[in-house]
Amino acid sequence: VKASSMLLRSLAAASVFAAACIAAFAATPPDAPVILIQNATVLTVTHGTIEHGSVLIKDGKIAEVGASIKAPSGAQIIDGTGLFVSPGIIDCHSHIAVDGSVNEGSISVSSIANIAEVLDSDDISIYRDLAGGVTTANILHGSANSIGGQTIVIKLRWGQPAAKLPFEGAIPGIKFALGENPKRSNFSIPGRERRYPASRMGVEETIRGAFTEARDYKNAWDTYNKRTAAGEKNLTPPRRDLRLDPLVEVLEGKRYVHSHCYREDEILMLLRVAKEFGFKVRTFQHVLEGYKVADEIAAAGAGASTFSDWWAYKVEAYDAIPYNAALMTRRGVLVSINSDDAEEATHLNQEAAKCIKYGGLSRDEALKLVTLNPAIQLGIDKRVGSIDAGKDADLVIYNHDPLSAYAVVQKTLIDGRIYFDRQKDIAARAGLEKEKKTLLDKEKAAAKKPEEKKAEKPGEAKKPEEKKPEEKKKPEDMATMPQAGTDGGAQ
């Protein structure tokens, strides 16, 4: 009912598609079915590859994995002959499903802003990434500020309302950013005064300043709580500071720091600051020069989430090498490969495969870069990241080895439910096209009527405005110059 009323009101063809998909999923039974995938090549990631293997899914979880599993009665059987099953892809750096800009770019400490409050469950990128095998994504604030906004881990449950997207129990994060982006090197507007910080020196001091405040604020609260607990009455509590609250959570280890960075010096800078204030850096993001200081990153227990082969789009990316992930892995860093871009996310399996060529990772090590390793980095590895009994049934079924450019996703499952099915997608196209045409014709007819009444020259109806074709939207942290038609490179 909701979908059909939406359709009537809809002007944009986009909503038509989204609404149709919602309608399609509304028909899915709420309980996850029992599914048995049989005779597939199962890439477990944790205990090798099982040729002609089976995966049994019950109550949204992986019930059993093995060479052959007897089908329980009533189970839906998926014949996996010639197919490959991998754990769902986990993208440790994403900006999909965000309504509007990903940057609260007006201030250098924007910890008050929270991505969780602007989740957009209708973003078509959710569906497209799902079609690329992504099941979980770390939705980050942008990199305009030294201390950016709060971040959230979601599952790509397309068709569900925004409230159902968050990954239950996942520890929330906060985005930090170092280097060219927070100092706004590539974004200065002639005649406009530059914002502090404008140098890497200032970036450090912005973070130190904020944590100095946060530490005092925490002490004030700790003292107040202690005295109240001891029975003191009529104490005035410290003034609540919504900007510092998330930083206190960082100090208490309740919120992960995901820090955008490129250069070796700024990586070490943040490790120093973190040590000074007693917090941990959970992941360095991009970290394209991480290979230069891999030992230091490993010693600090920080993770690294990087690109496969991006380089040279700005000075701090000029020493980027495709061997980064492999080199850091060999030095003991926990590494993942991320997308930072809705399209890049659709082939993260391919990006991981490149690390076999660049640096000689094993197949399992490569696949871990986009499954188990990001799960560990996000603190959700007990739930997802490998094909093990007891874990969430977040799985991808490919028609070919996923560590290849020739693999096409056939099905993507989250919580044991099929959220993407390539054959169904293809089969639905003709119907959607027809529905779109009907609605557009209806709109055109409705738009024409009042026009005709007052039109001096009938038939010369106003032409629909057309959008300029957009360049491939540049990934958020890669954007150096605004592109016509986008929101200025999300900066």
């Binding site: 030992d295 000075v315 495709p322 000689g360 020739y406 300029k468 605004p482 016509a484 986008t486 929101d487």
Partner: protein
């Protein structure tokens, strides 16, 4: 284990680098024989166990039973595959080093009518992009002015200059050059209601009528300049240089209006492609379409007018929210089936090494493997009129050859040997050097 193997491979490649760089310094013609290889000639069925002889920069012999000449340097390629090097027909190679740093960027001239500027003039032979790109098996590219990248600042001009075909090896431009003027770049104007104002860093919206007026002004400008060039060509045909006033811009357009130089027309929307095809048809220009995001909507027109398409990377999101998620990935097979000739290009520098990956993804979505490989070798050469020299392994062609341990389009395939202009060329590059340096960083 594989790590040790790769370390050894790196050591081997460094040796190869030194060998190759010393041989490059002494340009004595060397004869090479690649033996016992699988030869993917693209001029016939693959030869499972064959030999290629490279002499004086050219393919001297190729086949299943070819004699190795005395004195030839023999490369036993048992288990390896020999293919033509890949050809990336839209890049800013040598014109742009670091996109965000204007002083390293020469890819776009100011103003809208610059037919006289030539990419080859500004290609920087020492660009770090060149060795990085060739290590991915790309042996030649088209360096294209006004083709965007991060640095275009939104303004690319209309007639943006002449694209140059270059080998990805050589000490100077003269050595690298395949064809100085291989195509004239035309950025087809579009009716844009949404624009970005770089002076204020803000978006601007304007009415359709205003945008259309601007579009028509640009088309008129193009028509005018081509008309002038036609008159200019006539004058040139009738008299000596002293008989008329020389004009460098019009002179550069003479081969275009004479139909000798193809026009590389950048357009993506169906409406723009249609307008561009009609315009070029009317003006009798040889059109190559570049971009072509919505080429499938006008495939019959493209086929009937014999317009080839150099496609943007298939690893690109569809424009419209209600496009099928694989709309761009499935376009190559659709165009090929409709009889339209296609080639793939990176439209970039730092992502040039994804050329093979893009072709492979199109194959995964229905394009035949042979067509996919040809779309990054033979077809770009044909489209640019260079297939007499490049694109297949045939006697007499320039020896731009790659020797790989498997399918050259696959992500995990290693490039074992690289020949450009018949020279065994180093695959060393900035990335490998940094890798080796930090691989050997002592524990702190």
């Amino acid at each position: 284990v594989s790590f040790n193997r790769s370390v050894r491979a790196v050591l081997f490649l460094s040796l190869l680098y030194f060998a190759a760089s010393s041989s490059a310094q002494t340009p004595t013609p060397t004869t090479y024989a690649i033996t016992h290889a699988k030869l993917v000639t693209l001029a016939g069925p693959p030869i499972e166990d064959g030999t290629v002889i490279i002499k004086d920069g050219k393919i001297a012999a190729i086949g299943a039973s070819v004699e190795v000449p005395a004195g030839a340097q023999v490369i036993d390629a048992k288990g390896l595959q020999v293919s033509p090097g890949l050809f990336d027909p839209v890049t800013q190679m040598g014109l742009s080093e670091i996109g965000a740093v204007g002083s390293t960027v020469d890819s776009t001239e100011t103003g809208s009518i610059n037919p006289d500027v030539v990419a080859a003039t500004a290609v920087f032979p020492s660009s770090e992009h060149i060795p990085v790109t060739r290590a991915s098996g790309i042996t030649e590219v088209l360096s294209v002015p006004g083709s965007g990248g991060f640095d275009s600042g939104g303004n690319r001009g209309l007639l943006a200059g002449q694209a140059s075909a270059i080998h990805l090896a050589g000490w100077t431009m003269d050595e690298m050059q395949i064809k100085r003027s291989a195509a004239m770049v035309l950025n087809w104007p579009t009716i844009a209601t949404r624009t970005f104002d770089f002076a204020t860093f803000s978006r601007r919206q304007r009415p359709y009528a205003e945008a259309k007026q601007e579009y028509e002004r640009q088309v008129n400008q193009l028509t005018d300049v081509l008309e002038s060039a036609r008159h200019y060509a006539q004058a040139m045909g009738h008299g000596g240089p002293s008989d008329f006033e020389r004009d460098v811009k019009l002179e550069a357009l003479v081969p275009v209006v004479r139909g000798q130089l193809p026009v590389l027309v950048f357009a993506d929307r169906a409406r723009d492609i249609r307008s561009a095809v009609e315009f070029c048809d009317k003006q009798k220009l040889r059109m190559i379409l570049a971009g072509g995001i919505e080429a499938y909507k006008v495939k019959d027109l493209l086929r009937s007018k014999d317009v080839p398409v150099i496609l943007r990377p298939v690893l690109t999101d569809p424009d419209e929210e209600d496009d099928a998620y694989d709309r761009i990935l499935s376009q190559p097979v659709e165009l090929t089936a409709a009889g339209v000739k296609i080639a793939f290009a990176s439209f970039d520098n730092s992502f040039a090494r994804r050329l093979g990956q893009n072709a492979a993804n199109a194959i995964a979505h229905g394009l035949s493997p042979e067509e996919g490989l040809k779309a990054v070798t033979l077809y770009p050469a044909q489209i640019l009129g260079l297939s007499d020299q490049l694109g297949t392994l045939q006697v007499g062609k320039v020896a731009n050859i790659i020797v790989t341990d498997g399918d050259p389009l696959e992500l995990t395939t290693d490039l074992k040997y690289l020949f450009i202009r018949g020279q065994l060329t180093s695959t060393d590059n900035r990335h490998k050097r940094l890798y080796e340096k930090y691989l050997n960083r002592p524990k702190p």
